[in-house]
């Protein structure tokens, strides 16, 4: 049976931690709008071509209203971050979405991120020193990849970093599509909601110099600001988004660079390659997670295939990023690739709000690692690296390193 007659299980099973499943190339070539079955048992269509994914992500007809009655449920319990009712509190489209986005965007400008570089570098240096003190081999994910973005986002939001273990658990229940049952997920979300409610009450009483305090100070909708619930959900969303994504990407990026150590050596010889190397790691991240689901409110066509109203599509940015029609020698890791218009952060009006933050964190981590631990290497063969299963955001369980 050819691939275009099959219903593929999704996510497509793949044991290789850093390499793509063989199906991607075949799907892009012959079946760009594939039928897939999600963990819930519901069906959706999977898009893998660069042009299709880029256009669909930027097309407002493909909405994020995954809680529509006929939208595919991603996980068996219908929970998870994409189906969440909470996700609907932040305006999904049009002027209201733009208004929300601009209120929050000011905190994530390139200038602000550049200004945070020295503080980020200090955090990275301290974390690396602690890892070195504990002795080799170390786990780069637990020692550096995970804590750094958490400290940074907690600081921006004005959330105590001591509570990070609780956020990790709450994030995990929101982002994991298979591990937790409905009751567990709902209980975790209720706790998270209560935590943020108390935190915001504290900030109302005693404002700080942070994003959440400023959103409160901007006033309610009548003053061009957000209502209380929107501020709360924005805080939860930023905390979750600032948590797992970059945390996992640090481990994956360093693993990709060390798995073929000539890449690491090229960077040691020329630090000006750091920026383009970060982009190339994002492009070639074969383990980026679920992709982005969209719900179609009116019928249309993608790559010549009719999609009726009510269709749920999954955009695989990771598959699209390896499309030979968009990138020359697409499977090759090219430390100098430029321009690199990859889709790791999505595209269009909803493309990742925190992308300048993520980029800056990845660049700073790489700079500091190259400087402090030039002899860094993987302490296990690439084949032994293991994926985290079931997460909307992909990652490695551990990143064993020595130096």
């Amino acid at each position: 049976m050819s691939i275009d007659e099959q219903v593929l299980p999704y996510p497509i099973p793949n044991d290789a931690a850093l390499r793509p499943p063989a199906e991607w190339a075949e799907l892009r070539g012959t079946c760009p709008v594939a039928h897939v079955e999600l963990p819930s048992g519901d069906r959706a269509r999977l898009l893998t071509r660069y042009e299709d994914v880029r256009q669909v992500l930027a097309d407002p007809r493909f909405t994020r209203q995954l809680n529509a009655p006929d939208a595919a449920r991603l996980s068996a319990d219908g929970g998870g971050v994409f189906n969440s009712e909470m996700a609907m509190i932040i305006p999904d489209s049009g002027e209201e979405h733009q208004h929300w986005r601009r209120l929050v965007s000011k905190w994530f400008t390139a200038k602000r991120m550049n200004a945070m570089r020295p503080a980020m570098a200090r955090i990275a240096e301290d974390l690396i020193d602690e890892m070195v003190e504990r002795g080799a081999p170390g786990d780069l994910k637990a020692s550096l990849g995970f804590p750094l973005p958490v400290y940074v986002i907690c600081d921006m939001l004005g959330v105590p970093a001591e509570d990070r273990d609780r956020f990790s658990y709450w994030s995990d229940t929101l982002l994991n599509l298979t591990r937790y049952g409905k009751d567990e997920t709902e209980a975790a979300q209720a706790e998270f909601f209560q935590y943020m409610t108390d935190l915001l009450a504290g900030k109302r009483a005693e404002p700080g110099d942070d994003l959440l305090s400023e959103l409160i100070a901007a006033g309610g909708p009548e003053n061009g600001g957000l209502d209380d619930l929107q501020i709360l959900v924005t805080g939860m969303a930023l905390l979750v988004a600032g948590h797992e994504t970059t945390a996992n990407m640090i481990g994956k990026m360093v693993s990709m660079l060390l798995a073929d150590r000539s890449r690491w050596e090229a960077l040691l010889a020329d630090r000006s390659l750091i920026r383009t190397t970060v982009e190339e790691s994002l492009r070639l991240d074969a383990n980026s997670g679920f992709g982005l689901p969209r719900y179609l409110k009116e019928g249309t066509e993608v790559s010549g295939v009719e999609l009726p109203k009510g269709t749920t599509v999954i955009c695989s940015m990771a598959a699209a990023n390896r499309d030979e029609s968009a990138f020359e020698a697409a499977e090759e890791f090219d430390l100098t690739r430029s321009p690199n218009p990859h889709l790791a952060f999505g595209a269009g009006a909803h493309s990742c709000l925190g992308q300048a933050l993520a980029r800056t964190e990845l660049q700073v981590v790489l700079e500091v690692l190259l400087r402090k631990l030039p002899t860094l290497e993987l302490a296990a063969p690439e084949a032994e690296l293991e994926r985290v299963e079931g997460l909307a955001v992909g990652g490695l369980r551990t990143v064993p390193v020595r130096w």
Binding site: A58, R101, R102, L103, S105, K106, F108, T109, A110, K111, M113, R275, S338, P339, N340, P341, F345, G346, A347, G348, A349, H350, S351, C352, L353, Q355, A356, R359
Partner: protein, 64 residues
């Protein structure tokens, strides 16, 4: 080279500022792109082309 930007499309990703800070900036109040130099010199053309190519919102246009 002539550069034009579309503020309505801009999503504040900041890529253009990171790549060509002499040509692009972002407004402090909402992160929206500000064009500093609509006709940048030849030494900046490569960076401007790169910024336009990677803009996630397709908000930068370049004409020769």
């Amino acid at each position: 080279m002539k550069v034009t930007i579309d503020e309505d499309k801009c999503c504040g990703a900041g890529q253009c500022v990171l790549i060509a800070p002499e040509v692009f900036d972002q407004r402090d109040e909402d992160g929206i792109v500000v064009l500093l130099d609509a006709e940048p010199g030849a030494d900046r053309h490569a960076a401007v082309h790169e910024a336009a190519a990677v803009c996630p919102a397709f908000a930068i246009e370049v004409s020769e």
